[in-house]
Amino acid sequence: MSSQTAIQPDKTNPNRQPVSQTQWRRAWRRLKRNKPAMFGLCVLIALVFSSIFAGWIAPHDPYEQDLLMRFKPIGTEGHPLGTDGFGRDILSRLLHGSRISLVVGLSSVSLGLVFGVTLGLIAGYYPKVDNLIMRIIDIMLAFPGVLLAIAIVAALGPGMWNVVIAIGIWSIPTFARIVRGQVLAVKSKEYVTATQAIGCRDYRILFKHILPNCLAPVIVYATMRIASSIMSTATLSFLGLGAQPPIPEWGAMIAEGRSFLYNAPHIATVPGLAIMIVVFGFNLLGDGLRDALDPNMTDV
């Protein structure tokens, strides 16, 4: 049976691997019981919802200025979260900003994931290049915190997409490390030897047989990483290195509200709370996923 599946790329039958199916299903059952993680999932769904439907549910145009309605506090009629220094509706800006946060979070993490996972697979599977790749990874990890991202933005120049690239590159090393460690653990397993013995090509072994068995920690880390990417993007925008005004990016909104901290503190407070809730949600979900996917806790 395996020779057939080994030759044909199997796209039509996703239920081919009953064992891994039940593993994921079991993890999902465990995750469902985890209330904080479910809260995190709700936050994620709300974020996705608001970023898709921002154009419909936002009461105003996020860029529309109304100089007669400046600095209106929270609870003003027509402006539930108040207005900013240009009389723009904060709720509308927040909703449109959620789209930016989600897109930036997802795209930078995807960038880091694709390159990081590939590098990790190669480093773990081919001992010849392992040392070289891991030394490069070490160098990338030698930059503390967001410093590497900041250095890359310094080279590319400030701007939203440059921040995505910078944060994406900054995410590569950790993904690579996690995957490499997993590959090293998995590659001596019998089923890998078996696929080698029946003559599978390397890329097929790597992507079809090794990768699926390395995914659990990658998923956990990716979830947490989206949280930190959203936070780093906001940070860089706050510093003036990311999204430039008048883009309703949450960090940039906080930077704009900074000058009015005394008279209209809600301008800076509201987007900060939004960042906190979203990041908190992703972290809760990531924690829950880790508990759900941790093989040490398997109840069999």
């Binding site: 030394r135 490069i136 070490d138 160098i139 990338m140 030698a142 930059f143 503390p144 915190g145 967001v146 410093l147 590497l148 900041i150 250095a151 890359i152 933005v153 310094a154 080279a155 590319l156 120049g157 400030p158 949280a227 936070m231 906001a234 940070t235 706050f238 510093l239 003036g240 290195l241 960090g251 906080i254 900074r258 901290l261 005394y262 503190p265 800076a268 407070t269 987007p271 900060g272 960042i275 906190m276 990041v279 908190f280 972290n283 809760l284 924690d287």
Partner: protein, 313 residues
């Protein structure tokens, strides 16, 4: 042990070289001709050509890198394009402020994180435990720049307990301590959260050990058993995390310094990026990354000394 330290010191060389290559590339991968950026918008084509020659930008990249490296090793990181000051002098006056901020944050983080972590572990499942663990997750989820603004709003603007911003560079004076208080708490809270989580799980792990049960069985009070037997062993991984995070705090100072207008390396770097003052950016990144690597090395060595069970082969 000596062999281990020697080997680690040797491994430092390629990493530092790598950092210098990355930093060098920051300038050279930048879109546009560096000479054009340096010469400014009003420069003529011949000005730019003269500058290219002066800066040696027409040389092959490896020649340029070698020049950058050998100058850097001699402590010459070039001059600021904005002020004309040497980058080394600029770093020299600002680095102590950054170091003071990072150290103060680490003290805050260690005190808060260790206390919360140990109590949570001992009282596992209690109200305090859930509260501090939710608090720890919130602490990791808070954007530090926003938290800084909120602290500023509450403690400086509304309550007027502490100064709004600025730092006089003298942490040993009362004014200096007051000025550092808000930035240190702002920067330290995320690390405190991390330390609390790791301390909790590490203490819980050790509490399960047989020797702790023995200590309790031979009549040692809970307090003594924890102080003498649990903490000693539980704190080993915590020390590493603290060490590594001290380096990470150095990276975090970039943000906190900008919020609180502290004249440190981080704020200088952000300003230099927006004004495209490349020598300054290079100097800042080089200094912070090298310090981070050195601190990590030190942490690893301390780790090996603290825990003789660990063998690095």
């Amino acid at each position: 042990m000596l062999m281990y330290i020697q080997r680690r010191l040797l491994m430092l060389v390629p990493v530092l070289l790598g950092i210098s290559i990355v930093v060098f590339m920051v300038m050279h991968l930048a879109p546009g001709d560096p000479a054009e950026i340096l010469a400014g918008p009003t420069a003529t084509a011949s000005d730019i050509a003269a500058l290219r020659l002066k800066l040696g930008l027409d040389d092959p990249v490896y020649v340029q890198y070698w020049r950058f490296l050998s100058n850097a090793l001699r402590g010459d990181l070039g001059d600021s394009l904005q002020s004309g000051e040497t980058v080394t002098t600029m770093l020299g006056t600002r680095f102590p402020n950054t170091l003071a901020l990072a150290t103060a944050s680490m003290i805050v983080a260690a005190v808060v994180g260790l206390t919360a972590g140990v109590i949570s572990a001992i009282k596992k499942g209690s109200f305090f435990d859930s509260l501090s663990m939710i608090g720890a997750l919130l602490g990791i989820s808070l954007p530090s720049f926003w938290l800084g603004l909120m602290f500023m709003l509450v403690f400086a603007v509304q309550l007027r307990w502490l100064p709004v911003a600025g730092y006089n560079g003298q942490w040993w004076t009362i004014t200096g301590v007051k000025q550092l208080a808000l930035p240190a708490v702002t920067l330290g809270i995320g690390t405190a959260a991390l330390i609390a989580r790791i301390t909790r799980s590490s203490v819980l792990e050790v509490l399960k050990e047989d020797y702790v049960r023995t200590a309790r069985a031979k009549g040692l009070s809970q307090f003594k058993a924890i102080g003498k037997h649990v903490l000693r062993n539980a704190l080993i991984p915590v020390t590493t995390v603290m060490g590594i995070n001290f380096g990470a705090l150095l990276g975090g100072t970039v943000v906190t310094e900008s919020v609180f207008a502290i004249n440190g390396v981080g704020r200088m770097m952000v300003r230099a990026i927006t004004s495209r003052d490349f020598p300054v950016v290079q100097g800042c990144v080089l200094l912070v990354a090298s310090t981070f690597v050195l601190i990590n090395l030190l942490v690893d060595i301390i780790y090996a000394v603290l825990d003789p069970r660990i063998r690095y082969d």
